[in-house]
């Protein structure tokens, strides 16, 4: 067989194989065939050249065995990209700040309100604690260094009598 002609046909084999497979699928599904078959010249070459015909059959076998794509894959990718888009619109630090604000607001709105539907044993008494400077060292409370000598004496006396 003319090797120049083989070379030309072999270049066309992948496209030809895809076309023939599409035609087979269309025929099986009774759908109209939209693509013309190989040209008469290529067809004549394939009929005469066993090597090119074998290569075409190999290409068709590979196309038939293309691995199936998992169902719903495109939807999962689209979903992931939507999350990415949301992430780009609302960066993580903004979401964190919003979450903290929402939490703070939630505590402000609901923190002290017992659930009326909850059984009595599930309800904790509302917090009534207020800061007393005499409670000692707490965040924001006066430190020992801030006390005058007179205050310090009073404090030491009260501690020694308790």
């Amino acid at each position: 067989m003319n090797s120049v002609e083989c070379g030309r046909v072999r270049e066309l084999i992948p496209r030809l194989a895809r076309r023939l497979e599409r035609e087979d699928v269309a025929r099986a599904g009774k759908a109209p065939i939209r693509h013309a078959g190989p040209t008469a010249q290529v067809e004549a070459h394939l009929a005469a050249c066993r090597e090119c015909r074998a290569e075409l059959e190999l290409a068709r076998a590979l196309l038939r065995s293309r691995p199936p794509v998992p169902e719903g894959l495109a939807d999962r990718i689209v979903m992931r990209l939507r999350q990415e888009r949301e992430g780009a619109r609302h960066p993580a630090w903004a979401l964190t700040a919003a979450a903290i604000a929402a939490l703070a607001l939630g505590i402000g709105l609901h923190g002290d309100v017992p659930d009326p539907d909850a059984p009595p044993f599930a309800q904790e008494p509302a917090e009534t604690w207020t800061w007393d400077p005499e409670d000692g060292v707490v965040a924001g409370a006066p430190m020992l260094d801030d006390l005058t000598d007179q205050d310090l004496t009073v404090l030491l006396t009260s501690l020694s009598t308790e």
């Binding site: 190999l58 076998a61 495109a74 990718i77 992931r80």
Partner: protein, 185 residues
């Protein structure tokens, strides 16, 4: 060689990319639906594990989404996508530490469309065998054959997708086909 179909594809892709860059979510969704299957198959030919291949594909599209502004358009979108896929798959394999050895046979082949069930079964078996043999080829040959036959890429596009040249893609393809025919005989 770029035929009319390919240049038409490129125009359509360029428009989708431009719309996606402008924040059109639907355009991005269309790109995903157009290319997810071929990207998945390419990833699978590297990873040889459906779950790992799906992870790679998800990461590829996230990278595409983040890198749309950097897409220059001098290569086709498909080639660019495949290039990212090859790089992502290589990275994923490095992280795993080794290539999975599971044979591709278990992935299953599409049923043949012949009408005689016995002939159909024979055709399907041959198709599965061809796919299993493809998995045995050296990496570059396997990739060149898969890109050309499974995805219909030209040699130039195959070269761009794999970071090599058109000549190398051509050589790898024809060596791969010859080796595959030897394995099949």
């Amino acid at each position: 060689m770029i035929d009319d179909e390919q240049s038409g594809e490129r125009l359509a892709d360029a428009e989708l990319v431009a719309r996606a860059r402008g924040g059109d979510a639907q355009a991005l969704d269309l790109l995903v639906r157009k290319y997810h299957a071929s990207t998945y198959r390419l990833a699978l030919s590297w990873m040889r594990d459906p779950d790992a291949a799906e992870d790679v594909v998800q990461d590829v599209f996230v990278k595409v989404f983040r890198g749309l502004d950097g897409f220059r358009g001098d290569a086709s979108l498909r080639t660019w996508l495949f290039r990212i896929t090859v790089n992502e798959a290589k990275g994923a394999l490095r992280r795993v530490g080794r290539r999975r050895e599971d044979p591709m046979d278990e992935l299953g082949a599409r049923a043949a469309s012949g009408e005689d069930p016995a002939e159909e079964a024979l055709v399907a078996r041959e198709a599965e065998r061809a796919r299993a043999m493809l998995a045995r080829l050296p990496e570059k040959q396997r990739l060149s054959v898969a890109l050309r036959i499974d995805e219909g890429l030209s040699f130039r596009e195959s070269g761009e997708a794999t970071g090599s040249t058109e000549g190398a893609a051509r050589g790898n393809y024809f060596h791969g086909i010859r080796r595959l025919r030897e394995l099949m005989s």
